[in-house]
């Protein structure tokens, strides 16, 4: 039953990805100012949204681990697995944002990169979570999960700064399209394609997040079994 539901969800996700691609390329009209280049928004912005969501999951997992590690060890392990899965999949989406952004910027602004607040805070966010993953990968000992949880919490503090950066400071990056000042927003003919792509990338993200969580839980179980065997000879 579980396998069937996972298969159905995967099939729906693939369908959504194809539909989202079709909407982005064939249905959404060409932008009057930026032409075809504007279509990068359908991958760039949803990737950023999903990255923020998964960093929030990592934050919740990290807080959960720190809160439960002394009293409920098993629940703490579950929280830690979510923290790691959220951070890793978030880094993947943040990498997409940092790669597609400069491609857009090169054509729209004439430069690959500029040290403005939005771009710099996003790069810092990515670096914090990459250091989180490196810590998890290479450090050893009983304190690794605790240290990683603390780093995960500090990393998540950068998310609201990234989100607000182009509201607080003048940036090369455009002002917010949604929730910005009066006159901001997207042409109504482009909104369905944008929403379909958000849904598609969210479904894709949830799928790989669930897979990553499952792999981590399996890893924890194998590590626990090995530790038990080592204790009992």
């Amino acid at each position: 039953m579980k396998k069937i539901s996972i298969g159905i969800f995967a099939a729906v996700t693939v369908g959504l990805m194809i539909w989202g691609f079709y909407q982005a390329i064939y249905v959404a009209p060409t932008d009057a100012m930026q032409g075809e280049l504007f279509r990068i928004i359908f991958y760039h912005v949803p990737s950023a949204m999903v990255a923020f969501l998964f960093f929030a999951i990592s934050l919740a997992g990290s807080i959960g681990y720190l809160a439960l590690r002394r009293n409920r060890a098993e629940w703490a392990q579950v929280a830690d697995a979510w923290a790691l899965a959220g951070a890793e999949v978030g880094v993947v989406f943040c990498t997409v944002v940092l790669l597609t952004g400069p491609l857009w910027g090169r054509r729209a602004w004439g430069i690959w990169w500029t040290w403005d607040a939005r771009l710099t805070t996003t790069l810092v966010l990515w670096l914090i979570y990459v250091s989180y993953l490196l810590l998890r990968r290479f450090a050893a000992g009983p304190q690794v999960q605790t240290l990683a949880a603390v780093l995960g919490i500090f990393g998540a503090l950068d998310v609201p700064i990234v989100y607000m950066s182009n509201r607080w400071w003048r940036t090369q990056h455009p002002a917010p399209v949604f929730g910005g000042e009066a006159g901001s927003g997207m042409d109504p003919s482009m909104v369905p394609a944008f929403l379909w792509n958000i849904l598609a990338w969210l479904a894709w993200g949830v799928l790989i997040l669930a897979l990553r969580y499952h792999v981590e839980r399996q890893h924890q179980k194998i590590a626990a079994e090995e530790a038990q065997e080592a204790l009992h000879g």
Partner: protein, 87 residues
């Protein structure tokens, strides 16, 4: 003087009938335009950058999915081996 006469002649020239051959020529021209031969260079560059952004996105996502799949398989293999040969 001669220019005016040629213009006249050109104007008088009967329009070509739309034959299957001429329709083929039109189609070929349309395809060439679609391929980008007669497109504005700025539009071609915009198109190439958009394609690059989409391709990079898919490359990153699928590479991660593949890595995750390999890791999952390796872990399953390790779990099966350790259950077969307990210390």
């Amino acid at each position: 003087m001669s220019n005016a006469s040629t213009r006249k002649l050109r104007l008088k020239k009967p329009r070509k009938r739309c034959t299957a051959e001429s329709q083929d020529k039109h189609r070929t021209a349309g395809r060439a335009e679609k391929r980008g031969k007669n497109m504005d260079p700025k539009a071609i560059l915009d198109h190439q950058f958009t394609v690059a952004a989409y391709a990079i996105t898919w490359a990153v996502q699928l590479a991660y999915l593949a890595w995750l799949g390999f890791r999952w398989r390796a872990q399953k293999r390790d779990a099966a081996r350790s259950s077969r040969n307990p210390r």
